[in-house]
């Protein structure tokens, strides 16, 4: 390739890093093409049947029948993207190709797994939206606090605290009060994180890790010390799905988006509000200024400390709401460590979504999709062990974070404490 001379400028260095990454991605895409070609090959003549509606639905649409040759097309497309990326990969195309490539892989995988069988695609998509809710809300909490430059590793702990408070208060005083309690408890941990990192200038990552450890300790302690004995404290009523009239009758889309519970609607509405707030209001602009250049914001009269306190607390409330999903929106019962790393995946969704609420939601939908594929495919008896399917979202997270992080930029002051002059 190019000669490395002493006069090489910084820009050229960055350029070569970008093109190296593009080449790596090209290699990955070609590997995926080979995977589809040789592992996910469908016996000729077999086809996969995807059910889109059930017999109960008001509007019926025919099943989607995909011939096995579809996978050949997928492999060819993947190979084309990979070779293109290898030969003349540019930064602009890298993430697009990667996203499209992963989508092709998933489709080929679904066709391969369903070949010769029938599979209810709509119910899987419905489950995918549901599974993405805590991840999306975790990601949104991450956006809110990182936009004011507070790194929030504590999302995991806030989700867990919300789940716990929702179950406990929900069992005692009913679902709605449980929900409010979950939000408040999440907010308290947001406030605690803000106090530790803003006032006491503790390292943000350590503070987050500690909150996670603390919440895990407290909730596990109470659930083994108290819940095991007094079961009625851990038996909350679950929020059922609310069917929105007319809209829920639309095939595929209806069950996915308009026949869900409070938490799904809440997540979508919150993402909308957060986007409007951050990018179209004066206070949102101030918050982002605090994240990008706190000194300048301070000079112009924005109170950096108050802004950080408020936003990190709001982030905690969002995560508390997301945590309540685990208990009030799903099973009604708290179990030790039931969030099981969703908060961290939410963090990955935030990075994948480029610190933007809508981006975080989209990324969360992808993770939720991977999650629900894993659960539904157990029904199809694929030869792939369930552990590997469970691994898939984590591997995808690593690939995504590695593939995109150079292209997406965190707020400039992210992770840095601010000391007033």
């Amino acid at each position: 390739m190019t000669d490395m001379t002493a006069t090489q400028t910084q820009a050229e260095k960055l350029d070569s890093a970008a093109s190296r990454k593009a080449r790596i991605m090209g290699g990955i895409l070609i590997a995926l093409a080979l995977l589809v070609l040789f592992v996910l090959d469908v016996v000729p003549g077999e086809s996969a049947t995807f059910r889109l509606t059930t017999r109960r639905d008001a509007i019926q649409i025919p099943d989607l029948v995909v011939p096995g040759a579809f996978n050949m097309v997928c492999a060819a497309l993947l190979a084309f993207l990979g070779v293109r990326q290898l030969l003349r990969g540019g930064a602009r195309w890298t993430s697009l190709s990667l996203g499209f490539g992963l989508l092709l892989l998933v489709m080929a995988f679904l066709v391969w797994a369903t070949a010769g069988k029938a599979f209810n695609l709509t119910s899987m998509l419905q489950a995918a939206v549901l599974a993405s809710v805590p991840i999306a809300l975790g990601g949104l909490a991450g956006v809110m606090s990182e936009r004011v430059a507070v790194v929030n590793i504590a999302i995991e702990g806030m989700l867990l605290a919300g789940a716990f408070a929702g179950a406990l208060i929900g069992s005692l005083l009913g679902g709605w009060i449980g929900l409010v309690a979950a939000i408040l408890v999440g907010g308290c941990f947001g406030l605690l994180l803000a106090t530790l990192v803003v006032t006491f200038r503790m390292d943000q990552i350590i503070a987050g890790v500690v909150i996670n450890l603390f919440v895990l300790g407290v909730t596990s302690y109470v659930s083994s010390q108290v819940f095991a004995e007094y079961r009625f404290l851990n038996n909350a009523k679950v929020f059922r799905a609310w069917e929105i009239p007319l809209l829920s009758d639309i095939p595929v889309i209806g069950p996915m988006l308009f026949d869900q519970n409070l938490f799904v609607y809440g997540a979508f509405i919150l993402v909308g509000i957060a986007t409007y707030y951050l990018f179209h209001t004066r206070n949102g602009l101030r918050a982002r200024a605090v994240g990008e250049h706190p000194r300048a914001a301070d000079t112009l009269g924005v109170d950096v400390y108050v802004t950080r306190y408020v936003h990190v607390t709001i982030a905690g409330m969002i995560a508390g709401f997301g945590g309540a999903f685990f208990t009030l929106g799903n099973v009604g019962r708290f179990e030790e460590n039931m969030t099981n790393g969703r908060g961290y995946i939410g963090l990955a969704a935030m990075i994948f979504g480029r610190w933007h609420p809508v981006g975080a939601l989209s990324a969360a939908l992808i993770f939720g999709f991977a999650d629900s594929i894993q659960q539904k495919l157990a029904l199809l008896n694929t030869p792939i062990p369930s552990e590997f399917l469970a691994m898939a979202p984590y591997i995808a997270t690593i690939i995504v974070v590695a593939g995109l992080v150079g292209r997406s930029r965190p707020p400039a002051a992210d992770g840095k404490p601010y000391v007033k002059e």
């Binding site: 006491f200 890790v209 990955a348 997270t397």
Partner: protein
Amino acid sequence: MTEHDDLKGVNERMRSLMARTTHGRDDFEDLVIVPLFAVVVALVFGALIMLATAVDIPTIGRSFAALAIGSVGSLNAWSETLTAAIPLVLAGLGLGLGFRAGLFNIGAEGQLVMGGLAAVIAGFSLDFLPIVIHLPLTLLIGIAVGAGYAAIAGILKATTGAHEVISTIMLNLISFELLNWLLRQPWLQREGRSDPISKSVPDSAQLPQLLDWINPNLRLHAGLFVMLIAVAFIWWLLFRSKIGFAFRASGENPSAANYAGMKASFVIVLAMATAGGLAGLAGASQITGVLGRASPGFSAGIGFDAIAVALLGRSHPVGILFAGILFGGLEAGGRQMQVAAGVSIDLIGIIQALIIVFIAAPLLVRAIFPWGFRRNGRKEDAA
């Protein structure tokens, strides 16, 4: 010495990401008073939490007594404390080294799983070797696999900038799934068992017990020496070797280290691999010294507790040694507490988290205990 100067001094010290965990010239207040207060306050909070969950006061007294007796009250207690401390110290050394190099490695748990798995496989498949070769080889394979697994995160960070916090968390989750899958494979699963449990490691790959001549129930094993050697080695590596200097320089000021000719990507990968090797050794020593086989969740959160150990020990090898023994004592005492007083061992997790809060936020400790410190706080030249 005005308050303003003091604040500026603090500002200086807070500047680098890991300043709190890595700075070198700690003085008496930092090394003794802050940890001491942290432990006391955490225990008081633990008592308050017990009160809040309707545990009566005599039981609280009994549980603290059991905590003390179970951790240091007898020969058996010491044996349990040190046995629990060995993997914590080993993994903590690796994490501390990572912090020094500016890497926040959450992945010790996964590296520990991989190292332990490798030790099990090497243990039962190389059983024709004599112990003098077999045991060291088993430990070395554990180190190598742990190092390799951690190096994935290092390479990803060095080549693409992927943040190690996310990638190591994902590698943890992947390693748990891999463990569950491998334990069901016929070549690894114990014969005649349907539950996921591995074959046993033969005697020739087991770390010998040290105190079984007194009482065969004393579990302390030769991993104690491995741990002490590792402490000495990491101390030498960090403070007396060239590569250790590169680690510390990259952690303190990456751009200065870069301009001084240290290759940042090389340092990242090597530091991650060293940390992973130590975590892998922790897993291998746990397998060959205590468990003798792998089962789901055999890592038991040691890798996460080790983060706390490294923070508490200020990323200094000797500090980590003491912090590991303290946490090992809490672990051993916590088991006694659960048996004798019926208080869940999860309480220990809360106490550990609180200890780290107070260690990592010395300003908080100063706010709670203003009388424990010199009026003007730290002198600026200590920063």
